[in-house]
């Protein structure tokens, strides 16, 4: 079957969104289900069929979502109702809309790194040693401290399931 000529194809747009918190890396499929559920529950099946959201790329703490041109408002509002992927709490912060994925990839490169430098403690650094994440005690509990952009510090509680996070600043850490 020959491909459709460009003028007869569906017009699409791509939306770039940052995934918060820094260091959270959901599965692409799970993220698609979360976005699709958000669009469907808010607008219903009729509008969801018109928006046709799809997750086409997930890289460097950012997600690229494809949708039908003209459905910007519906998709943006629905994205603000995405609060979790499976049991992982996240927020999607829309950054830009473009007609090509390539231009959004350029935006990802230009933007500040969404993933903190010490996000993966098991990742071997240049020296070949596993990356070290500073351990801190806050409010009587032990946490791993992830230094994010600027003064932001994310703490992940140490334990059987590392799900509890605290969002602080470097000044909070100095005061504690």
């Amino acid at each position: 079957m020959s491909p459709r000529p460009p003028t007869m194809r569906e017009k699409r747009r791509y939306l770039l969104a940052r995934i918060d918190p820094a260091g959270a890396v959901p599965e692409q499929k799970d993220l698609y289900y979360a976005i699709s559920e958000a669009v469907t529950t808010l607008w219903g099946d009729g509008v969801a069929a018109m928006v046709v959201p799809a997750v086409v790329a997930l890289e460097d703490g950012h997600v690229v979502i494809r949708y039908r041109r003209g459905a910007d408002r519906e998709l943006m509002i629905a994205l603000s109702t995405v609060t979790a992927v499976r049991e992982m709490k996240i927020a999607l912060r829309p950054i830009a809309i473009s007609g090509t994925i390539a231009s959004l990839r350029l935006r990802i490169k230009k933007s500040k790194p969404a993933v903190p430098k010490n996000a993966d403690p098991g990742d071997p650094g240049e020296s070949g040693e596993p990356g070290e994440v500073p351990e801190v005690t806050f409010a009587g509990k032990k946490f791993m401290a992830l230094q994010c952009e600027g003064k932001k510090v994310n703490l992940i509680e140490k334990g059987f399931k590392n799900t509890n996070r605290l969002f602080l600043t470097s000044e909070d850490m100095e005061e504690s």
């Binding site: 408002r73 109702t81 927020a91 829309p94 969002f167 602080l168 909070d172």
Partner: protein, 214 residues
């Protein structure tokens, strides 16, 4: 005009410190935030307004709490109850905001309460958390109730505030996202801007609806 998130709940209620909330608020386009049980101040260019949130109390207890909180300054807000409670609370001097109207009874806020709110300069808060995190019937009820409140606000002219009631920075939304969500309630961009400035209106010295001119 100050763009304010009318309620955030920092650590230990939530999982984010008040300074982190201030940092995120600046990135999301806010000038100030009202932080529950936090001292007033500022951080990195964002104004932090301390707030007191009185909930699950009788009208008499609310009066006592407001008397104590009034001297400290900041925004005093009360969780809405039934119609009689709301009318009593709106009449208490020092109360700035009536919150949680979406969880109250269907008849909890009527035209008489709306008129009283306008006369006393008490704002009604639109908490966006049921729109963001809620699904199906609770979200539909919240949208319906807020549309009703906005109809009264248009007619009687009491202030309206918008809050995320975020317990985490992940629950905060940008001004643009809030504008989008408020279109579900029938608000347009100037309405949303006006509501985001609602804290400024309730914190100003109050002038009654009727002024006697000698």
């Amino acid at each position: 005009m100050k763009i304010t998130d009318a309620c955030v709940c920092p650590y230990p209620i939530g999982d984010s410190s008040v300074k982190r909330f201030a940092l995120e608020a600046r990135e999301l386009g806010f000038d100030s935030i009202v932080a529950v049980d936090a001292p007033s101040g500022g951080f990195e260019g964002t104004e932090i307004i301390g707030g007191v949130f009185i909930r699950d109390r009788t009208a008499r207890e609310v009066i006592n709490h407001v008397k104590k909180a009034r001297d400290k300054g900041g925004v005093i807000s009360v969780l809405a109850g039934d119609n009689g409670f709301n009318r009593a609370v709106i009449g208490v001097k020092g109360v700035h905001i009536l919150r949680g109207i979406h969880t109250a009874d269907k008849k909890a806020f009527d035209h008489v309460t709306a008129k009283m709110a306008a006369d006393n300069g008490v704002a009604v808060d639109l908490d966006l958390s049921p729109l963001i995190a809620g699904r199906s019937i609770p979200r539909q009820r919240a949208i319906h109730r807020y549309q009703d409140i906005l109809m009264f606000a248009g007619r009687f002219g009491f202030p309206v505030t918008i809050s995320s009631c975020a317990r985490s920075v992940l629950e905060m939304r940008s001004v643009r996202e809030i504008t989008g969500l408020c279109t579900l309630l029938g608000m347009d961009e100037p309405d949303v801007e006006h509501a985001l400035n609602g804290i400024g209106r309730v914190m100003e010295p109050h002038y009654s609806a009727v002024r006697v001119i000698e």
